[in-house]
């Protein structure tokens, strides 16, 4: 999927991702190129250096994995 937020994934959008990720039990990770970060880490997410238009892959592993991946994808797609 693609990041649409104009500023990329800076502090505020990263915060929203962290908070959403915390609702799930699954381990959720975001992958961009060679880099990967836990969706629960603001530092990790920012260090992906995601800009507007960047492609990211979301992986979730755990009891609520399908739901978690879907929720994160929806959130990231909706960030402005």
């Amino acid at each position: 999927m693609t990041v649409r937020a104009t500023t990329g994934l800076h502090a505020r959008p990263a915060t929203q991702v962290v908070q959403e990720a915390k609702r799930f039990q699954s381990t959720i990770r975001l992958k961009h190129g060679e880099k990967e970060a836990a969706a629960g880490s603001i530092v990790g997410l920012m260090s992906l250096g995601l800009k507007q238009g960047a492609a990211v892959t979301i992986t979730a592993d755990g009891p609520d994995e399908a739901e978690a991946a879907q929720a994160l994808a929806t959130l990231i797609a909706g960030l402005e």
């Binding site: 505020r12 915060t15 970060a37 880490s41 530092v43 260090s47």
Partner: protein
């Protein structure tokens, strides 16, 4: 021996006082762990947990205090610190360090440095700056682990603070009654330190150069000239006397000028102009009111976008614009929409490094491409207009099409607010004339606007093709060059022919040599920095309209 260091002017004002050096931040992040024996990992982890709680509390307090004393935007950085304190990337690294046998202090220092290093290595300047935030929280955790009290920066008497660089938390914690001035080796004019120092009214010089402040002992006498960017060490009696006199003289002038607060801004023979002030945020309002300015001629809204993580929301802007409008009412407030780019980079806006930033994606060019941001500004301004007199002004206009698009957007926002049932007021619409093309075509633009405001800094720079920040050519920078004056003259005439008014909001307005000429060219309004308002008024009241017109016509012909 007297020695003078030259840096970048960051906040104006004079200060004479003793040096106090801030413990270097690099040292602060490097704990003295030699000789410390690590307890077993389990108890280290418990100690770390306690330190974490303590750090969270103190960051929360700092956030609260900064919000109260400085502002919402400045406080946001500490909200991010709170999140970083509970970041799994940090916690995992600290845990791994402790389990490998490190004392908690060393584990935190190593984890912090590793993460800061990762951020510093990214290519986005905004993210690079976040390395400083990570260092700030790791320093705080280490202090808590060592049982150190939250340090109040400072010494016993009022002092001039010296530092390599200041962390946001350190700047925010400065006691403005004891810090006479601020000098840093690092940092630029838009660094966090500079912006905060300006809003706190502390004279400051930044960018003095790496290592220049090392070896200045506490207690050494210093003179700091924030406007000139000078730091004088160990001044001679002669220098000291000169600056003491200057300081005293400024006091006397201030007293004499304040008597003019309520006097009209007009020449001795009654030629009246509107004398307004430039502001960058709420922090400047007190100075505007104190100077008796007749309004705000330029609200540089880009400062609301700086030193933060993301653009301010419509609500946040509305609250600020409304407060400015209410406190100045019935006097008018000109809100200039975001003028980012050029020499005012804002990392998160995503303006890439440009070959020629002054000729690049800036001002209205950026805003018309990022319409949502512009809409938030226009909606906030329209809503604030329900509470006072608001004018909106667009920067960097080059073409008629830009004016029309911006105006259309404003009308759209008006319609939306009406449909939503949100109260709004009428706004006058103007443009900055700073691109020579706009000055040359002023007669085409005049029917489309309510007023012009000439940005003399950029107009001069673009007309003469001189970067005033470039020391090699800056002597060619001359706002009184006949070419610039002819453009200004043309703009004023075009405005008047169409029944509109023309003002000027650049630094030329507060230059004593320029004032008679600008008045003589027929400008209706001048907007200057709040501390210059009374001085300009005093000079104006000593001039006559005839003398101003004579000087203007001489300069149009011959130049300086």
């Amino acid at each position: 021996m007297e020695r003078t260091l030259k840096g970048i002017p960051a906040a104006p004002g004079l200060a004479i006082g003793q040096a106090v050096a801030l413990k270097r931040t690099a040292d602060a992040g490097r704990p003295a762990v030699t000789g410390e024996v690590a307890l077993d990992p389990a108890s280290e982890w418990v100690r770390f947990g306690q330190a974490l709680d303590q750090a969270r509390e103190s960051v929360a307090r700092l956030e609260e205090r900064t919000r109260r004393e400085v502002g919402e935007a400045e406080a946001a950085v500490f909200g991010a610190h709170l999140l970083m304190l509970e970041d799994p990337e940090l916690l995992e690294r600290v845990k791994a360090g402790i389990e490998a046998g490190s004392p908690a202090e060393r584990a935190v220092a190593a984890a912090g440095e590793e993460l800061a290093g990762i951020m510093a290595g990214l290519d986005d300047p905004y993210l690079q700056e976040r390395a400083l935030d990570i260092r700030d929280i790791s320093r705080r955790l280490i202090a808590a682990l060592r049982g150190e009290q939250e340090e109040e920066v400072g010494g016993p008497a009022p002092f001039i603070l010296l530092a390599d660089d200041l962390l946001p938390s350190q700047t925010a914690r400065l006691d403005r009654h004891r810090v006479l001035g601020l000098a840093t080796a690092g940092g630029g004019p838009t660094s966090h330190t500079a912006v905060l120092a300006r809003s706190m009214g502390i004279p400051a010089v930044v960018g003095l150069g790496a290592g220049t402040l090392d070896g200045i002992a506490d207690g050494v006498r210093l003179i700091l000239d924030g406007a000139e960017g000078l730091l004088i060490l160990d001044p001679s009696e002669e220098t000291l006397t000169r600056y003491e006199e200057l300081l005293a003289q400024r006091e006397v002038e201030r007293a004499a000028l304040s008597a003019l607060r309520h006097a009209p801004a007009q020449t001795a023979d009654g030629h009246r102009i509107e004398l307004a002030a430039n502001i960058a945020g709420l922090q400047d309002l007190a100075a505007v009111l104190e100077a008796g300015a007749e309004g705000v001629g330029l609200f540089r809204t880009e400062f609301l976008f700086m030193e933060r993580e993301e653009p301010p929301s419509e609500e946040e802007q509305y609250a600020i614009y409304r407060e400015v409008a209410e406190r100045l009412a019935p006097r008018p407030v000109i809100i200039r929409t975001l003028d980012a780019g050029g020499d005012k980079p804002i990392a998160y806006l995503g303006i890439e490094r440009e070959e020629n930033p002054f000729l690049g994606w800036r001002g209205i060019r950026y805003s018309l491409d990022q319409v949502e941001l512009l809409r938030s500004q226009l909606r906030a301004a329209l809503r604030a207009a329900a509470h006072g007199s608001i004018r909106v002004m667009f920067p960097m206009i080059t073409t008629l099409a830009e004016v029309r698009r911006a105006r259309a957007l404003l009308i759209e926002c008006e319609g939306e607010l009406r449909a939503e049932g949100i109260p709004l007021g009428p706004v006058e619409v103007g443009i900055m004339v700073e691109v020579p093309a706009a000055a040359l075509c002023a007669d085409q633009l005049a029917p489309e606007v309510d007023f012009f405001s000439i940005g003399s800094n950029d107009l001069t720079q673009y007309t003469l093709a001189v970067d005033r920040g470039n020391r090699v050519v800056s002597h060619l920078y001359d706002p009184l060059h006949p070419a610039v004056l002819r453009l200004i003259h043309q703009v004023v005439e075009a405005a008047h022919r169409h029944g509109k008014w023309a003002g000027l909001c650049g630094e030329a307005g507060s230059h004593p040599d320029a004032l008679p000429i600008l008045v003589g060219l027929g400008l209706d309004e001048l907007s200057v920095a709040p501390p210059s308002v009374l001085r300009v008024k005093a000079q104006l009241r000593g001039l006559t309209g005839a003398e101003c017109r004579r000087q203007a016509s001489d300069h149009l012909k011959t130049g300086t």
